[in-house]
Symmetry: C2
Subunit: 441 residues, 2 copies
């Protein structure tokens, strides 16, 4: 809009007439005067319509959340009214004109009130405007940017993995069926795994930000039908330790970026940027699964129960000063079919999980790179190699030892701000009961 | 891998023993000596196994595309053998050991031979390794990065739009059906349009890199069943000219970035970075649809035919020195239902297309922001507002005048390198006849 001044820059216009545009966050009608809080993408400012303002009639019409264009003069506030800790806390817009761009109907609830999750989700086009939601998704946007930038610096090439696939590739998680052309059935990808492995061939190091879809009938705080994963894969490794090092660097870079950019958001969420021990303590602690159970004083198990994930994270925080902890050496039988197992280490695999503040946010491994071994593993698991013919081409023609990992963006975001339910860290969450609106029974 | 040296840095190791890891691109067995070209993610180098090398037996076993670890000494080449225009053209690796990491079977064809598209696509895990494919997807990775970075600098917040939706939102393009929970049917998104409009509420300026799915029975060089779009939307605009300006800046920034990074790729594709006229000529030329037809000397039509898209691009290149051209003022009836039409401009809309080297790569518009007008338009088009209840919330509660656009990543990439078929600019293309492998009849 012509001559619009962004709210962030208003304090350099003291004494001058300006035009702003934005939403009405707050309206306080004191009869002779009307006070407003306005917001645009750069921030907030208070405005006042004085008794004799030509805008007084218009001000009476303005509702909360209306989109408006406002003209007026920027005044310094008297010292007693200055709010030093607030953006533009030392100025006020003395309003001379209000143009209604789009009048909001009466809100169904006051914006920012604590709502139950279903009401929040039923009203996302409105509730995403709250400070809390804007904080969450501003954080998520920064995580995406920082994570990708770190992988780029570590020489990874980004590619687009497909969402439509020909079969339920992993043979594990339930896949959604799609009616495709020629009466064929396609599926929604449960992982970009095969495609990132294939991309090791052209690029040696490849990453993708991909949608994954799981038809699991789970209604927990950690499950989504559609999620976003940050996946990478790299060639010419000696063990799972190399992808773990790449991942750790990406996590470190991301944490550093959001700590620098979003001190205010961490504060509003009553938490702080996660800690990773620096040298000489040496980064994210690594425990084998057996060590983790021993540390917790519980019986060995083939996997981590959710309460043990929480327990070992508490231990890592207290004893190692780390909000993250790696768990390695899960039994091969508990991992995806393509997970590498060194003969000297059987029946344990080269898989790993990364836990963050009580929750698994990442899973990775060294993979099988030898064609015959991979066929052997498929046969062991009752999988038909014929169905994997496309994928197997990569292994026929020289696949180096390789590995990688997959981070759940929504889980990472949720734990970053200590949000209990991953659905709140998903802009438009899909689950068993909902796609935007609730599914009818 | 331990002590591995990346190929790019080999020239600083002259006279020293090094270990490299990578693929065998070329193998020339001269009986007493064997020559190799090796490649890793940083480049290419020539190696030679001399008659008395302990690696001679191993060298006889090595096949093209095998993944290998190679030890040897970096020698300067004699002056007469120097290839100045090639990476590492002044050095050679004198090989002393070869460790086979993964032996490639005999290739079905020589890598780099010109293949028909179906053969290329049938063998992607192999053919994506060609110089040509690596170039295309290196370019695509850079486009993604530069485009997002430009939007970030222009104050846009990135978000994740969903791929699973409750209905065929646009009411136009055919949507794929998904078997969802509770015997309900979901659809694959044909556009992130509604979600980015909703995101104007929280962020004023929002963008997403999203997958879109079209069940159109089209088998042209420009159609895909699954494509990636670069979508943005912004609030508080006066007309479509503001999103056009944002888009032009993003395109300019992207072109500048890839021109700087990929001179070699443009050269290999026998093309050059696209031109956008600088000041004072003033950027990408803008023609109304009527002006475009007049310029071409053809009868007015309500849309651009593919041959006219090509014609007007030729005109823009020749007369304006621009590889891009904007077309505006399409009839409202030809555009999506949410397209804004100013009463003084009816029956023309505030929609626009961006053409690039003969092909439409982007479509955008100012949108309807007024709730009642939007309901009115839905009714005119025979759409049931009840089905859009979730989306309509955004308009009930103060939606400013807004607009945005959507760029097809694969089309943008294809035209950047003047590739005839958009499928070649898609890592794993899906169409009527194929998901990785060909669909059975």
């Amino acid at each position: 809009m012509k001559n619009r001044v962004f709210i962030k820059g208003l304090s350099s216009h003291i004494g001058k007439t300006v035009a702003i545009a934005g939403w009405v966050s707050v309206r306080r009608d004191q009869g002779k005067m009307v006070f407003f809080d306005f917001r645009d993408m750069t921030g907030n400012v208070q405005g006042v319509v004085l008794t004799k303002s030509p805008a007084l009639d218009a001000a009476k019409e303005v509702t909360v959340e209306s989109a408006v264009q406002v003209g007026g003069v920027i005044n310094k506030r008297p010292l007693k009214n200055v709010q030093a800790d607030k953006q533009n806390g030392d100025i006020e817009l003395q309003i001379e004109s209000i143009e209604m761009l789009s009048k909001a109907q009466t809100l169904p609830f006051e914006l920012g009130t604590e709502l139950n999750l279903d009401t929040h989700l039923d009203n996302l086009p409105l509730t995403l405007r709250t400070q809390r939601s804007r904080d969450i998704f501003e954080m998520q946007s920064s995580i995406l940017e920082a994570y990708r930038a770190s992988l780029k610096r570590q020489h990874f090439t980004e590619f687009e993995a497909p969402a439509l696939v020909g079969g339920d590739a992993e043979g594990g998680a339930a896949a959604f069926k799609v009616e495709y052309f020629k009466d064929t059935v396609a599926y929604l990808a449960t992982s970009p795994q095969f495609y990132k492995q294939i991309m090791v061939g052209p690029f040696e190091r490849a990453f993708t930000v991909a949608k994954i879809f799981r038809a699991e009938k789970s209604a927990t705080t950690r499950h989504l039908s559609e999620a976003t994963c940050l996946d990478f894969e790299m060639g010419f490794i000696e063990s799972e330790r190399e992808p773990m090092a790449i991942l750790e660097k990406a996590i470190q870079d991301t944490v550093q970026a959001v700590a620098e950019q979003h001190a205010d958001i961490f504060k509003r969420f009553n938490t702080s940027p996660p800690k990773i021990p620096g040298p000489p303590a040496g980064g994210i602690p690594i425990l084998t699964l057996a060590e983790a159970h021993e540390t917790l004083g519980v019986a060995p198990e083939p996997d981590m129960a959710p309460e043990h994930e929480r327990g070992i994270c508490e231990w890592a925080k207290k004893e190692k000063g780390s909000d993250f902890v790696f768990i390695t050496r899960f039994p091969t039988a508990k991992r995806a079919f393509y997970t590498y197992e060194d003969p000297t280490e059987a029946p344990l695999s080269r898989g790993f999980d990364l836990l963050f503040r009580g929750l698994e946010i990442n899973s990775g491994a060294q993979r099988i790179h030898d064609y015959d071994s991979l066929i052997g593993r498929m046969n062991e698991r009752g999988l038909d190699p014929e169905k994997f013919a496309f994928y197997l081409q990569a292994f026929k023609y020289g696949m180096p030892p390789h590995g990688g990992s997959s981070t759940g963006l929504e889980r990472f975001t949720a734990r970053m701000l200590e949000i209990a339910n991953v659905k709140e860290a998903t802009a438009f969450p899909r689950d068993m009961t909902r796609i935007d609106t609730r599914l009818s029974e």
